[in-house]
Amino acid sequence: MASHTSSETFADQVRASPGGEKITRCFSCGTCTAACPIQWIEENYNPRRIIKMVMLGMKEQVLSSPVIWLCSACDICYRRCPQDVRISDVMKAIRDVAIREGYKPVRAVAQVNERACSSCGMCVQACPYQAIELTPRWVTIQQVMRQQRALPKVDEFLCQGCGVCTVTCPVSAITVADIGDDRVVAQIREFAQETGW
């Protein structure tokens, strides 16, 4: 009867997720890839190629790829895209599909050192993504005492790994892997040595 009676493709799935609607507009001009500051650091992250792979139905390759979690939504590409495709929204739609299909985000999330935490709740207020909440939990203190305390719990899907909580925490009890305080300090030392400060 109707002319469109095919099963749902990967592209349909992405299009049906909020943000993915305009994906078919892409005519592969490569402006986004050339504009992307992440592409200059990580060559495997190529937004044009990811969209093409979605259109071609390469579901397994796209969803299992770590690069779909890299877009930082700076939207430099969106301002230059001639077809008005918002790549950050498309990436969000692809991630939504990935999570629905049971894939885990490949990115550093904030981790809490429960024993150091003073339950002040400043990280909860600082988080721009509302990814942290205080929940009561039992913790063992000094190997003998068990105590129930309100401790921050990080939602691994909401956390974008920005590190705002790390700098806010007065007792350094919450850190994002790869960018902990000691590593940043080491980088500053290295830079100072190189430039001869």
Partner: protein, 626 residues
């Protein structure tokens, strides 16, 4: 151009604007404003002495402001006719030119614009196109970086008659560039500016690259493109030749052009799609191949000539495939890029076609038109009875109805295209359309709804689009319900409210009101007349309490067969979802209101006879005694 100017039967009027066009095909009256040059055309011999002595210099528009010109000037050296012109905005009235002109006495500072009327039989519009200004794209830096130039500036810089006598230099330091980037699709194929492909720029980029490579074999020339489009004869071979000449092609639209503030060299960031990652390359000069856009005064010209515009502002052709050189107004023809961006061969072809079309008008003693024109019953017109009206004249997209208060309207038959908008709008049913009279259409409605009308989907289709859409559904074998009954009129403007009321009075299950998409309408603004009326109907039915969806409005083009089938099937599904008793009850309940509203049309001339004929036909079809 020189040939045309010398031809005894060709009268070239330059520096002249069309102010007004009256009349109709074969009998146009055109008002021209011959702008004052302050130089007598019959006395000036083009010697140029006035320009030599003129002390004022202003930017030269023809040279893209890369060179100066005097206040006494010709636009370019090959101007036809070669008559000098005084730019009064720049002139300081030193009268040195008058002195230099001497005995010729061609310069007169008291000259004024002249308005003249001319009788013409046909009009060809060939107003061309304009260029997109790339300075609105911030990432390409045009206007900020001196070495980023447009295609037209490059054209002048590389022209032996140009400001540099053909020596290609870059604007920042006058050095000869050794590395040149050409960026395609600047402002075209871009939803932010102009969504269309500008048609000729791929070939234009290759042409410029080949020309430069011939004179500068060592120059490194790179063309950045999204797609290279070489569709016509010989174009692909030219592209092959460019690659053989070692011109580089990079697939990838640049995202940024950055300047080195010291050397003024440019860095172009793009993706190289063949490599699959972003690249950055350094150039001495960048040429932006900007989009072709309609002339800035298209709105004025289209209202003077009464021709419509396609999306974006290009002039609308009568039919995109079969009549690309005809405008919707008879006797007005289109040639070249004013109808849509096109290259020289296509413009020449369309120009020749338009000229022969115009010649046909000029040679015909009589002009045939479609017979579906409107005609007035003066005895029914309320304006003839002294009341204010004029609804018909306001509905006419062609200005074919001359209306004077206190008189019945006069229809200029040569201008009427037979959309039927005035016929349906007339509150008194005092206008009819030949071959689509109220009586004929009412009889058709009665015949189509003769048997079990509550099961039917009655579709009003316009001739050009929805009827074609239904046809497309048929030829493409998109199945739709057999309960559909189609009725053709020329335009959705002809679909009278009374027809819809009559259909529901007869007990129609659902009614579809369909026509062209607004930008596709073959009768300029006919669809707008129809859609306003349809919206009014929809609100009326809402107030009456009709089940939503029984009256449906859809705009379906001739290519949308799938949409036509889908809409009809959805309407059938709606009918299936309403219990039959409830539907019949609703029809009975609304019948008196429908009866009241459709009454006036049934009083129109010939309706009784036509309906009687329809009843007899119906009886014959049902096998009853006649």
């Amino acid at each position: 151009m020189v040939d045309a100017a010398r031809h005894p039967k060709v009268d070239v009027r330059t520096y002249t604007e069309v102010e007004r066009v009256d009349g109709f095909v074969g009998n146009f009256k055109v008002q021209l404003r011959e702008k004052s040059r302050y130089v007598y055309a019959d006395r000036c011999n083009g010697c140029g002495e006035c320009a030599k002595v003129c002390p004022i210099e202003v930017p030269n528009y023809f040279e893209m402001s890369l060179a100066p010109r005097k206040a006494a000037y010709v636009p370019m050296s090959q101007s036809v006719p070669l008559i000098y012109n005084i730019d009064m905005d720049a002139c300081i009235h030193c009268y040195k030119c008058v002195e230099a002109c001497g005995k010729l006495d061609a310069i007169d500072f008291s000259m004024e614009d002249e308005l003249v009327w001319e009788d013409v039989g046909a009009i060809v519009v060939a107003t061309g196109f304009s260029h997109f200004d790339p300075s609105v794209i911030p990432e390409y830096g045009y206007g900020r970086y001196p070495n980023v130039v447009t295609a037209i500036e490059m054209e002048r810089l590389n022209n032996s008659a140009g400001p540099t006598a053909g020596n290609l230099v870059r604007p920042s330091d006058g050095a000869n560039p050794r590395r040149l980037a050409i960026v395609n699709c600047v402002g075209s194929r871009d939803k932010r500016f102009n969504p269309w492909c500008s048609n000729f720029c791929c070939m234009y980029a290759i042409k410029n690259a080949v020309l430069l490579k011939q004179t500068h074999p060592d120059m490194d020339i790179t063309i950045y493109y999204i797609d290279i489009r070489t569709p016509l004869k010989g174009y692909e071979a030219f592209y092959d030749r460019a690659r053989e000449m070692d011109i580089h092609f990079i697939q990838g639209r640049p995202s940024l052009i950055a300047e080195d503030p010291e050397t003024k060299n440019l860095y172009v960031h793009s993706e190289n799609m063949a490599l699959g990652h972003a690249i950055e390359r350094e150039y001495d000069m960048v040429m932006l191949n900007q989009a072709a856009v309609p002339q800035p005064d298209v709105d004025t010209v289209s209202s003077v000539l009464n021709i419509t515009q396609s999306p974006g502002g290009w002039y609308m052709e009568y039919h995109p495939k079969l009549r690309p050189m005809d405008s919707p107004t008879d006797g007005v023809f289109l040639a070249g890029a004013c109808q849509g961006a096109k290259d020289i061969p296509s413009s020449v072809a369309q120009g020749s076609a338009a000229a022969s079309r115009a010649g046909r008008v000029l040679h015909a003693p009589e002009w045939e038109i479609e017979p579906v024109v409107a005609s007035v019953w003066e005895d029914r017109c309320i304006s003839a009875q002294g009341r204010k009206c004029g609804v018909c004249a306001r509905a006419c997209p062609y200005g074919a109805i001359q209306y004077e208060e206190g008189k019945a309207p006069q229809i200029v038959v040569a201008k009427c295209h037979g959309c039927g908008g005035c016929v349906a709008e007339c509150p008194q049913n005092a206008i009819t359309q030949l071959h689509f009279t109220d009586a004929q259409i009412l009889a058709q409605i009665r015949a189509l709804l003769a048997d079990r009308p509550e099961e039917k989907v009655l579709a009003f289709r316009c001739h050009w689009c929805s009827y074609g859409g239904a046809d497309m559904a048929g030829t493409s074998h998109f199945e739709y319900t057999a309960n559909e009954r189609g009725l053709r009129v020329m335009c959705s403007a002809r679909m009278d409210t009374d027809f819809v009321y009559e259909a529901f009075r007869l007990g129609a299950g659902t009614v579809l009101y369909s026509g062209c998409h607004p930008q596709d309408c073959h009768y300029i603004t006919g669809q707008r007349v129809g859609s306003t009326r349809a919206d009014r109907l929809l609100r009326a039915f809402d107030r009456m309490g009709m089940t939503p969806g029984r009256f449906r409005i859809e705009w379906i083009s001739a290519a949308e067969g799938d949409k036509y089938a889908r809409v009809i099937n959805e309407m059938q599904q709606l009918l299936d979802s309403i219990p039959r008793d409830q539907l019949l009850e609703e029809i009975e309940q609304l019948r008196p209101q429908m009866e009241k509203r459709a009454r006036r049309m049934r009083e129109a001339p010939q309706v009784e006879e036509a309906l009687e004929f329809a009843d007899r036909l119906k009886a014959a079809m049902m096998g009853e005694e006649v």
